[in-house]
């Protein structure tokens, strides 16, 4: 296993334990009878031993193990706590520190610790302590030096505040950029250019600091699956792929509950009991697979199971009983029928268990995913399994977007959705289709979708978009064209989430404020295309 990615965490935590040991040993010298100090010391040594062994830092693990043994004897009163013993432990601590510095510097851990280990063992056996000279490399250099860790522990909230401040800086920068258009001052323009570079660099640094691998989230999932499987009497194996992909910590945090809920549904409802699977000729254990991959600036996370799939007829019946009209249900595409499970209060589970089946969940999952500008799609094959596909932005707040105009109003289209931008005669857009990549794709008018009056003009702009999630075929590219009057700049937009009273607006997934103070909405492409095509 490649453990190098955990090194930063190891250094941070081990550094803290070493400080704790130093403080503890000094406290022990002053008050040998304080059992809480002994307990704490034992925990510090035990943690260092475990982490060092996992990371393959054998000498540190061995030394900590011998120290832990000695501490254990002291705790149980088998040997007396004396100044000699604490001195020996402090000498060993110097060796641990020296080894720790070598780990930090990626140097070989070639310090001979055997005399130290032998002295600890003899002390633990209650034999008279032989004074041991620590290895030269493990001796403090001249005077004791005070050093701070190169790794800092800060609250995640600090990064949230920093990012919000950078967002404000982006907006201010946007205002300055607007002013440069009307300014003749070269110095001013250079200053704004330099400011832009600095703000971008600051943003990149903060974004980098906020990124965490999916692995951090997925690490807790095997236990979730194990407990759910035990509770339901099923045999389930969880496998993952692409967990090294990093996401902004806020988005990663937001994915926690949805992922657990999806897995809970899969184990409780999707996957059959062992007997049923045997009869159906399905393998045991059943499989829940999480696969992540990067698509432009987004991450696609698929959670698939090989269970019984979703019963569409049951879903339709449930929707009817919840008041959805029969005509509406009958006109639904397969994708729309599957998405019925995201309606509040709708669950096809026949029994309510402690795990799921109360109809509270998939609607919350969908809301949670959409609140981060993500989307949720469902694929399911009866008796073969279900796949829930979450598409999320990898970073929050700054979105590359194209500024477009329709009926005199401005909007932003996420660059990640755009396939092509083409200017055409208005007449060519009257048929509702456009030939692209050898096939006809449907086209919709943005002004028409949003109810904005539009003046006649000879030419308009067609934006070919990936409208995945709206035209069926979940998970595969689904192209559609959006007609706008014109387009202008590609901008880095600091997109704010939509808060009440506009938190449930259709057609927009966020909002930004341009440099001249105009608020502009980031379009929710799948929603707009979906609504337009349903209406046509």
């Amino acid at each position: 296993m490649d453990v190098s990615k955990y090194k930063t965490l190891y250094l941070q935590e081990t550094g803290e334990h070493i400080s704790g040991i130093e403080t503890g040993l000094l406290a022990l010298e002053k008050n040998a009878g304080d059992s809480s100090v002994l307990d704490n010391l034992f925990r510090h040594y035990h943690s260092i031993k475990g982490m060092s062994a996992s990371m393959g830092y054998e000498p540190i693990a061995l030394l900590s193990h011998a120290e832990e043994d000695l501490l254990d004897k002291m705790r149980s009163g088998k040997i007396a706590i004396s100044e000699e013993v604490t001195s020996a432990l402090l000498k060993c601590l110097d060796a641990t520190k020296a080894l720790f510095e070598r780990v930090k510097a990626d140097e070989p851990l070639d310090i001979d610790i055997s005399p130290l280990v032998a002295s600890l063992k003899s002390a633990a056996e209650g034999r008279p302590e032989r004074p041991v000279q620590p290895p030269t490399a493990a001796q403090p250099e001249g005077e004791h030096s005070l050093r701070l860790s190169s790794v800092m522990k800060v609250e995640g909230r600090l990064f949230d505040d920093l990012l919000a401040t950078v967002g404000d800086l982006f907006m201010t920068l946007s205002s300055f950029k607007s002013l440069t258009h009307g300014s003749r001052s070269v110095e001013f323009k250079n200053g704004v250019h330099q400011l832009g570079k600095s703000v971008n660099s600051l943003h990149d640094t903060i974004i980098f600091a906020r990124m965490l691998p999916l692995e951090d989230l997925a690490a807790g999932l095997p236990r979730v699956v194990r407990d759910l499987a035990k509770e339901t009497g099923k045999e389930v194996a969880l496998t993952t792929e692409g967990m090294d992909i990093s996401l902004d910590r806020t988005i990663l945090e937001g994915l926690g509950s949805p992922l657990v809920h999806i897995i809970r549904n899969a184990v409780d409802h999707g996957i059959e009991g062992p007997d049923e699977r045997k009869v159906a000729g399905k393998p045991l254990p059943a499989s829940v697979h999480i696969r992540a991959n990067v698509k432009k600036d987004r991450v696609v996370i698929e959670v698939s199971d090989d269970g019984r799939g979703i019963d569409r007829e049951k879903l339709k019946a449930k929707a009817l009983s919840k008041g959805v009209s029969a005509a509406r249900v009958e006109s639904m595409t397969d994708g729309e029928v599957l998405k019925l499970i995201c309606l509040p209060g709708l669950s096809t589970a026949e029994t309510v268990t402690s795990i799921s089946g109360r109809g509270v969940g998939m609607d919350v999952v969908k809301d949670a995913v959409e609140s981060f500008g993500g989307s949720l799609e469902i694929e399911s094959k009866r008796y073969l399994g279900t796949k829930i596909i979450l598409e999320m932005p990898r970073t929050s707040s700054i979105t590359k977007a194209l500024l477009v105009e329709a009926g005199g109003e401005q909007f932003l289209v996420p660059i990640s959705r755009i396939e092509k931008v083409v200017e055409l005669d208005s007449g060519a857009l009257e048929y509702g289709f456009y030939e692209y990549a050898g096939r006809d794709i449907p086209i919709v008018s943005l002004a028409g979708c949003l109810g904005i009056r539009q003046e006649a003009r000879p030419r308009r702009t067609l934006i070919v978009l990936d409208a995945r999630g709206t035209l069926g075929g979940a998970g595969t590219k689904s192209l559609a064209g959006l007609v706008v009057d014109d387009f202008s700049d590609e901008i880095d937009a600091y997109v704010k989430p939509l808060l009440p009273p506009i938190s449930k607006l259709r057609g927009a997934s966020g909002i930004t404020v341009l440099g001249d103070g105009r608020p502009v909405f980031l379009l929710d492409v799948p929603q707009i295309i979906s609504k337009a095509l349903k209406g046509s």
Partner: protein
């Protein structure tokens, strides 16, 4: 009911807002577009880099007799993280200070009013902007997303 009041004179009467909730007043020739706007919800503006949904006060109070607006004077209200812009068109504003309110207020409520001030120049209804905010949220909430 206590505290200084900002008074707005409309065709339908006079209405008051707590000055404590007033974060600012901005004037625009044209309101930026808000997708899905309906009823008395008319647009969106930015105030200190924050988007603020704007409602037409006359419309909210059921008075559609005013001539078409030539400009938009928007009072920005802010409280506990909630922001709402109240468009009063070109209506005039004045103030009633706290000391003038003594013994002149009642709790006569309307759909979007929470009390009444019997001022020397006639009654002034106190606007319940939180109720307007809630109704604005309802008006802008789309149907299911399926």
């Amino acid at each position: 009911m206590e505290g200084d009041k900002l008074v707005i004179t409309l065709g339908a009467g006079r209405f008051a807002l707590d000055t404590k909730a007033v974060a600012g007043i901005i004037e625009l020739e044209r309101l930026p577009f808000l997708p899905g706007r309906s009823g008395f919800v008319t647009g969106i503006v930015s105030f200190r880099n924050e988007p603020v949904t704007v409602i037409d006060l006359s419309g909210a109070l059921g008075d559609f007799t005013d001539a078409p607006k030539t400009g938009h004077k928007v009072i920005i209200l802010s409280s506990k993280g909630r922001l709402l812009g109240i468009d009063i068109g070109s209506a005039q504003v004045s103030f009633i200070w706290d000391e003038e309110l003594k013994g002149r207020t009642t709790d006569e409520k309307g759909l979007y009013t929470s009390g009444r001030i019997y001022a020397a120049e006639g009654p002034v209804d106190i606007i319940d902007w939180q109720a307007i905010f809630n109704e604005t949220t309802r008006l802008l909430t789309t149907e299911d997303h399926v």
